[in-house]
């Protein structure tokens, strides 16, 4: 099915067909994938690296399980976010308090479902690259979101998204590599340019 869609899509080196790309990326729930997230903050000397699994459930709940270096579960259900970490009080908040998270979820959800209209509602969508290596850039439309999120860049190869990068206006960023078991699979140096290269590079080893 995916192959057919891709085959039917007119592929252009500078302008891949986003609809076809999205259709190929769709992953119906339940779905689960491992991730490594690297977070850069102006408060920190070195980035924070956590890894674990992302689970997408049939009821629409998204679970972000951190397994190393400590255990933490974030449950994203509807508008509510619940962060539970061993040894500390559960923290509840809603997406209104974390617009960048809402943006991230919207893009994530839309990509999992292949929902182009939803993406368009929140973002200006641009794409580049080709079938083998592509990059979709999502720029927020909403002013409130713009203040907290400059862009989401999704890098991938063929029918698989590889990296979700959230770029914040203050220069902070967080990069989530999907389908990667642990930090060991990433380059040893976690500087942003190195990781960017890794994301846009060909991973078919």
């Amino acid at each position: 099915m995916i192959g057919l869609t891709l085959a039917a899509a007119p592929l252009h080196a500078a302008d891949p067909d986003v609809d076809a790309l999205l259709a190929s990326l769709a992953r119906p729930a339940p779905d689960s994938t491992s991730f490594v997230e690297v977070r850069y903050s102006s408060l920190l000397e070195t980035p924070i690296v956590v890894s674990g699994r992302l689970e997408h459930r049939e009821d629409g709940t998204l679970l972000r399980r951190v397994e190393t270096p400590y255990e933490e579960v974030t449950e994203l259900r509807g508008e509510n976010v619940l962060v539970q970490r061993a040894g500390s009080k559960p923290r509840r908040f809603s997406l209104d308090r974390a617009p960048e998270l809402r943006g991230m979820l919207a893009s994530f959800g839309a990509i999992l479902k292949g929902d182009r209209p939803m993406l368009d509602r929140h973002f200006v969508v641009t794409a580049k690259g080709d079938e083998a290596r592509w990059e979709i850039t999502l720029t927020p439309r909403d002013d409130k979101l713009k203040r907290r999120l400059s862009a989401i860049v999704v890098d991938g190869a063929e029918n698989r998204a590889k990296c979700f990068t959230l770029e914040e206006p203050d220069g902070d960023a967080s990069l989530m590599a999907l389908g990667v078991a642990g930090p060991a699979d990433l380059p040893a140096a976690l500087e942003r340019p190195t990781l960017r290269d890794w994301c846009t590079g060909d991973t078919r080893q």
Partner: protein
């Protein structure tokens, strides 16, 4: 009296009434605090109860629900509404679940170390800071990073969050889009505390209007609906319903009485003249109440006018006795002894309420006594010269003649009266059910559906119980706060054991100065803190130097004087603390509101451990108060009954006449009380007032029947007068009896039944012997 002088008299009378009415209208302040009709407190405990019933935070609390097809729109409206209400002078406190982080003013930010309990169990040392910073690193790696990051340089221990969390209700509704929602996620929920007391319908009306205006401006979507529940909303609702019904009933009354009087006298001038004593009575009554009490309660007005409606009977007696060739002035001289006896004895009955100890009833008493006296006197002295000569004579009515002859043929079953009286007394004495209704709420009951909705919202919101309340008293604010803080762990135990859903107490927001000073003393000196921070930072990826704002804040906190209640002015804490910690009559009162009380005994035990702490059961306490107060009113009525009998005795000077005059009203009262009891109606204060009104009417009827001489023409005129009087009264009160509001229905049914019973009994027992000489 010449026509010119008659006109002059009429004009002067109307002008006097109009001018007095104008003055009264300009100076009269109409009060609406329902507590005026509750017993006045005698003891400190009673005063506390009445204060809490009307002024406690629970009574001011409005529970709001915004519903619509789109929850997001409801949430946006909740936020806009809350921020509008926060600046509205009608509201003291508004909560919708929004984070209070931004609500804390900059000036109080440094106080977080004195207000938050953190320093009670850990010092700001290297170990604590390291643990906190490690957590913060993990926070930065979590989805919460976005909103926490900007706070960290100033507040790495997230003290502000700890504080905001400690201010949240123990059990709060779920948050959707950052605001409270019901469990189903359909309705945005808010709590608003009004400035006006719950039992001040006028103030609550203003708050309701302000709420509606704010909602109209805040709604983002036309399909959204706002619902308000709580004591204040109910008092507005009930007042509106009462007003609507009385207005409607009033218009029907006026039309009915005008038709009745036109049929009875077929004269427009008589109709207009008949109103003058009543209008004079109303204006004089208002002036008297205004002079003595300064204000007049809305209920006094409604009640008083109902009660002085009797004054309409006085001119009717005069008009019915009018006939060709008779000057009203001589007619009134003949009627006056009877009329005066009636007026005097009714006034005596109402005087009993002056000593009832209930300020509202004292107002009603002054109003009625003044009004009736004025109506009686104007009927005697001002009205007669104005009455046009009548071309008609009630005595000419063939119908009345036949009626009177038929009545004369009726037996006079005195023995039956005695038997009925004994039966009623025996029944009432032997019945095990309580005769009286003590529940104030039963008088103005809120529709069941609304009450169910209210308790559902209350459960969802964890809003305080309107019935139970812990009250802490002390000579100053600090001792009250100290006791409140001591109670806190005990209350928490009750919550943990499931005996209580939640509670709120002032020391949660404002710790005692001693506690604040202890925390301040625990704050490390700048060098010490810097060293501890540097040591803690070694193990973390945080950059050096980013926590300078934190160091500055702690140093600022070390210089701060401890906060007292007066220092909170202008901050959001002012209203929170202000509704739970109050200065009253040179002492301080702290309130602990309770939510979802499941075990009253446990709370009683808790209160008993400390002499300054009382558990108020507002419902039970107010019922006790009502019962005690009623006993006093009954005593007053008993005394006035003795006085009334004396007046009638002095007027009639004959034991058998006195007996015949008093029998109908005494018997009627007994019959009505017994009938109510038999049909399961519990008697309230309002029944009591209505019974006195009915008794007064019965006395009038009996006096006039008794007065009717042997002259058949006079007898027919008396019959005419009493029929017109009783029909007009019956019309007014039977309509009132149809009301959906229990207070109005109670009065209506009581008086209507009284009119019928008094009329029948007066005919059977009181008519003069002369007319019954043909009997048996």
């Amino acid at each position: 009296m010449t026509a010119a002088r008659r006109t002059l008299l009429l004009v002067a009378w109307i002008a006097t009434v109009a001018i007095l009415g104008w003055i009264v209208d300009r100076h009269l302040v109409i009060g609406t605090d329902l507590r005026l009709f509750m017993p006045s407190p005698q003891t400190r405990q009673e005063r506390l109860i009445l204060e809490e019933i009307g002024e406690g935070p629970a009574s001011r609390m409005l529970l709001l629900a915004i519903s619509g097809p789109d929850p997001q729109a409801a949430a946006d409206t909740s936020r806009a509404l809350a921020s509008a209400l926060r600046t509205d002078s009608e509201f003291r406190l508004v909560a919708n679940g929004e984070s209070s982080l931004g609500a804390i003013p900059d000036s109080l930010l440094a106080y977080r170390y004195l207000l938050s309990p953190t320093l009670d169990y850990s010092a700001l040392d290297a170990g604590f800071l390291r643990r906190q910073l490690e957590e913060r690193v993990r926070d930065l790696g979590s989805p919460a990073a976005g909103f926490l990051e900007s706070w960290l340089p100033r507040d790495p221990t997230l003290e502000l969050l700890t504080l905001a969390d400690s201010w949240l209700p123990a059990r709060q509704p779920q948050l959707l889009y950052e605001v409270w929602f019901d469990a189903a996620g359909n309705e945005a929920l808010l709590v608003a505390e009004t400035r006006a007391a719950g039992f001040d319908p006028q103030g609550q009306r203003k708050a309701a209007d302000a709420l509606q205006r704010a909602f109209e401006a805040a709604r983002t979507d036309g399909s959204l609906r706002l619902e308000a529940s709580g004591p204040g909303a109910f008092s507005v609702l009930m007042q509106e319903r009462t007003q609507r019904e009385t207005q409607w009933l009033g218009s029907v009354d006026v039309i009915g009485i005008v038709i009745l009087l036109l049929i009875a006298y077929r004269s427009l001038p008589v109709l207009v003249l008949g109103l003058l004593p009543l209008v004079s009575a109303g204006v004089a009554g208002l002036a008297a109440v205004g002079t003595i009490f300064g204000t007049v309660h809305g209920i006094t007005l409604a009640f008083g006018f109902t009660l002085i409606g009797v004054a309409q009977d006085y001119p009717i007696h005069l008009f019915s006795h009018q006939h060709r060739g008779l000057d009203a002035r001589s007619s009134v001289r003949a009627l006056w002894p009877t009329l005066a006896t009636g007026v005097a004895s009714t006034c005596i009955a109402y005087l009993a309420f002056l000593f009832s100890g209930v300020r509202g009833l004292a107002q009603v008493s002054v109003f009625t006594v003044t009004g009736l006296a004025v109506a009686g006197l104007t009927t005697r002295f001002l009205l007669p010269p104005l009455v046009p000569e009548s071309r008609r004579d009630a005595a000419d009515s063939e119908l009345l003649g036949r009626l009177w002859r038929a009545l004369a043929g009726l037996p006079r079953p005195l023995w039956l009266g005695v038997a009925i009286a004994i039966a009623c007394v025996a029944y009432l004495a032997l019945s095990p059910r309580p005769l009286w209704e003590n529940d104030l709420g039963a008088l103005t009951p809120v529709p069941r559906a609304l009450l169910a909705r209210d308790s559902a919202l209350r459960r969802e919101l964890g809003a305080p119980d309107v019935r139970h309340l812990l009250v802490i008293e002390g000579k100053d604010a600090q001792s009250v706060l100290e006791k409140a803080a001591a109670l806190d762990p005990k209350l928490k135990t009750l919550v943990d054991r499931g005996l209580l859903d939640g509670y709120d107490q002032p020391a949660r927001y404002l710790p005692t100065m001693a506690v604040q000073e202890r925390r301040r003393a625990a704050l490390p000196e700048p060098d010490q803190l810097r060293a501890a921070l540097d040591e803690a930072l070694v193990a973390t990826p945080f950059k050096a130097g980013i926590f300078e704002p934190f160091l500055a804040d702690v140093e600022r906190a070390r210089q701060l004087p401890a906060l007292g209640p007066a220092d909170l002015a202008g901050s959001p804490l002012e209203t929170r603390v202000g509704s739970l910690l109050l200065e009253r009559h040179d002492h301080w009162t702290g309130l602990v509101t309770l939510a979802g009380v499941k075990d009253v005994t446990a709370l009683e035990q808790l209160a008993n451990q400390d002499p300054g702490t009382t558990l108020l059961d507002l419902k039970q306490a107010s019922e006790d108060l009502v019962a005690r107060q009623r006993d006093r009113i009954l005593w007053c009525l008993a005394i006035s009954a003795v006085l009334l009998v004396s007046v009638v005795f002095v007027a009639l000077r004959d034991a058998s006449r006195v007996r015949r005059v008093l029998a109908p009203m005494a018997l009627t009262t007994l019959i009505i009380v017994a009938l109510f009891h038999a049909t399961g109606v519990s008697l309230s204060l309002f029944h009591l007032i209505a019974l006195v009104l009915a008794a007064g009417l019965g006395l009038d009827y009996a006096l006039f029947f008794e007065h009717a001489a042997d002259d058949p023409a006079e007898q027919r005129r008396t019959l005419h007068a009493v029929i017109v009087c009783s029909l007009s009264t019956l019309l007014v009160f039977a309509l009132l009896g149809l009301s959906t509001l229990p207070v109005l229905r109670a009065i209506g049914i009581t008086v209507a039944a009284g009119v019928v019973s008094n009329f029948v009994l007066a005919l059977l027992l009181t008519r003069p012997r002369g007319s019954t000489t043909n009997d048996r």
